[in-house]
Symmetry: C2
Subunit: 299 residues, 2 copies
Amino acid sequence: MPEPLDAEPWFSRYAPLISRALDGALPEASGPLGRLHEAMRYSVLAGGKRIRSMLCLAACEAVGGNPENAAQPAAAIELVHTYSLIHDDLPCMDDDDLRRGQPTNHKVYGDAVAVLAGDGLLSLAFEVMAEASAGIPDSSRLQMVRILAACAGPRGMVGGQALDVDSEGIDDVDLPTLQYIHTRKTGALFSGACRIGGIAGGADDRQTTLLGKFGEKLGLAFQIVDDLLDETGHAEKLGKAAGKDRPRGKVTYPRILGLEESKRRVMELGRVASEIASEFDTPGEPLKAIARFIVERTS
Amino acid sequence: MPEPLDAEPWFSRYAPLISRALDGALPEASGPLGRLHEAMRYSVLAGGKRIRSMLCLAACEAVGGNPENAAQPAAAIELVHTYSLIHDDLPCMDDDDLRRGQPTNHKVYGDAVAVLAGDGLLSLAFEVMAEASAGIPDSSRLQMVRILAACAGPRGMVGGQALDVDSEGIDDVDLPTLQYIHTRKTGALFSGACRIGGIAGGADDRQTTLLGKFGEKLGLAFQIVDDLLDETGHAEKLGKAAGKDRPRGKVTYPRILGLEESKRRVMELGRVASEIASEFDTPGEPLKAIARFIVERTS
């Protein structure tokens, strides 16, 4: 049996592609609107693993496409993710001061600019998605816009975040509710990233559905690991304050299920995701590598 | 010479079409996400003249299309407009308590839900635009998505609002800067609404460009009238607090140019817009009627 693919070199190989697409999509931080555009660049180019973008590229590869053709759609997904972080960090939401080891957007630029930087990134994402070229047919690009909008919107990510904010400080949030929140808050964009990457690579409907399921499982695993790291991790490793969930009364998997059962669920979700990725044979290896990376990550 | 078309009956005729499209597009205010969805519905269905939607329908008619085919795109534009109002009213932005005679979104639902309701409306707008059917070709729908994103984004409406917030309390803002702000803050979406309506009606490139110019001129006129009404109007008529611009050090046309010169500019912009609309002959009459309505409005 061949050695399984390692995610880190794969990330290193494609990170410059995503960075270039993001840099090219973002407006220059000069001229009368320079401050707004600088704020947008500040958060987008702060780095991070760019997991969602990488899933988008890997999904493209899984169906036999060239990952480079999914660079623009992947950048669009990254813009949506970054907008959501900026808004989630606002004082009226999670009120976070640190993100990826740096002061959050509103800490640097003020609340008004942070709201607008997020708003600007969200619109820009749809511009980038609609313009994604590389020979992707118009009907596919429209489908990608629709998927992105649905994943990001009031039934997707925004819905999950609203319910998450609502449930802070409430003691009797049950597991189905928590799962409902995270399927939307994290799972929706993970699933969307995989489906969009697949469509950019020419996926048929069956493949697109499979990729969506893979992303949903993996998104949930990612969120549980996030909860676990907050419970057990260190601020330096996380690049954000650890141990913040419990004092603010945030519902988490470890709080409901305990550490051991939460870890077991992560392994199980990773296993199911990996099984789905196996349906794509060898081209599905990068998807499997990212799944392993997420299950095993410690920061 | 025939009697010129009156805007009000035209508005009354098409208002139900827009309301139905909006109601159909908005998620139901029930279930676990009911509160978020209720907040979205609260602001979208609060009414108003729906000028931008009406321009979209009128532009469709101007190029020989059936206004009903532009109902979905018009609803998408209205969703973008409403999101911008919700975010502009936030305490960290303009901090307004009243909008269309009702408490603003964050006054009713709190700041966090208001941010998310705005976010949700923006994503939903792109979903609605991408799904706009009625036989509009995919390439046209993609173009409509791109225009909406560009008008709403960091070089358009969001850019204008950022600069507007930045320039509060600064005394020496000059006319070119003020015009730069409003071309983006108001003009961009007006222009986009007209171009999108035209494309929904099958406009060629020349027609689309003309419609964009018409919308830009009219958007600027609309904004100057807004400034004038704040200076001279009454809160009851406006449905929002009047006389708020001056004490908060907001730059306005009357403040830079005086009342008379501001009024003269409105008339001039209205005249130019009307001239552009004349290029569409009789089908352009609704556009001209809306231009007159905007120039002459008192609330």
